[in-house]
Amino acid sequence: MLKNLLLIGCAAFLLNGCFGGEKETKWTAFIYPTKEDTKKYVKSPMTFSSLEECKKVSILEIQNQKLENIAFFKCGLNCTFHEGMKTEVCEQMLSSTDK
């Protein structure tokens, strides 16, 4: 009985690994030091597993740099370098000014 349960458990674990895994989400923070110049931004060297974490780190960084009144940030989902356009393109982009 115990052996059967163990076998079922292993099979379920393996199947979940093969078919049930969700797509990994990676958020990248882009901090714009001035609201007027949207061409200049600093990209976070690491990615975040959630949008909340990306927002939190971006806000903290802006506060650390004492840029609260002039800076804003964007969080990009699963950003990759687009060879055709020669720029980084994200699946989705949320700005700190978005509601």
């Binding site: 949207t38 990009g76 687009h82 060879e83 055709g84 356009m85 699946e91 989705q92 982009m93």
Partner: protein, 215 residues
């Protein structure tokens, strides 16, 4: 640059400065400025506008397309995302640019637009099995999802699709994609990878000559 001379271009004077006006006026004598959407609509209705340069706004672009189905659009925005690229498939003739002040890139785009005006062919190529290729933005889609391509895959597929009516010789591929360092194995592997990401019949081998695309 004579090909740009007779181009009727319009842009929003609030979105671009005098420096931009000077730049664009160097290449064409027919530059129209507008201050708001109503003025742009008037211009499109009353002048034979070939090219609109505007900040990306999906609703505005849709409106432009309803009025004229051939106008080329250079849309700039600070961060392009998948939604923008997917939306532009619906509108057609939209070339995205992140920085208008990169003169060389801007002129290259203008030339591309002129070529397209002459050929009257859409920048959107519908391939088989629900694949779509956007020539302007060098992007491959399947079922409204972007297919990621490596640098060489992107260059090779772009070249084949741009020159869809002829075979591209091995010599040309060697020069354009590998800067004269191509090996047969590398080319075979590149074709295999693109076929894997798309479908086998997309790229046809012309024995002893090179490759061509099956559109």
């Amino acid at each position: 640059m004579n090909e740009l001379k007779y181009l009727n271009v319009c842009y929003n004077s609030k979105e671009n400065d005098e420096k931009f006006h000077e730049l664009i006026s160097t290449y064409t004598n027919n530059v129209f400025k507008y201050n708001n959407q109503d003025e742009l609509i008037d211009l499109i209705n009353n002048e034979e506008i070939h090219l609109v340069i505007t900040k990306y706004n999906f609703e505005l672009l849709k409106q432009i397309r309803v009025l004229n189905n051939q106008i080329q659009i250079i849309a700039f925005l600070d961060k392009i995302n998948h939604t923008h690229l997917i939306e532009s498939l619906e509108i057609e003739y939209v070339k995205f640019i992140q920085e208008l002040n990169c003169v060389n890139e801007f002129i290259y785009i203008l030339k591309d637009c002129v070529k397209n005006i002459d050929s009257q062919k859409s920048n959107i190529r519908k391939l088989k099995n629900n694949f779509i290729y956007d020539i302007y933005n060098k992007t491959l889609f399947k079922n409204n999802k972007i297919i990621s391509l490596t640098k060489r895959e992107s260059l090779f597929l772009g070249l084949l699709i741009k020159e869809y009516n002829r075979a591209i010789s091995y010599e040309e591929i060697n020069k354009e994609i590998w800067n004269n360092t191509m090996t047969q194995d590398a080319l075979r592997s590149l074709v295999k990878e693109i076929r894997k990401k798309t479908y086998k019949e997309l790229i046809i081998n012309i024995s002893g000559i090179g490759y061509r695309i099956d559109l």
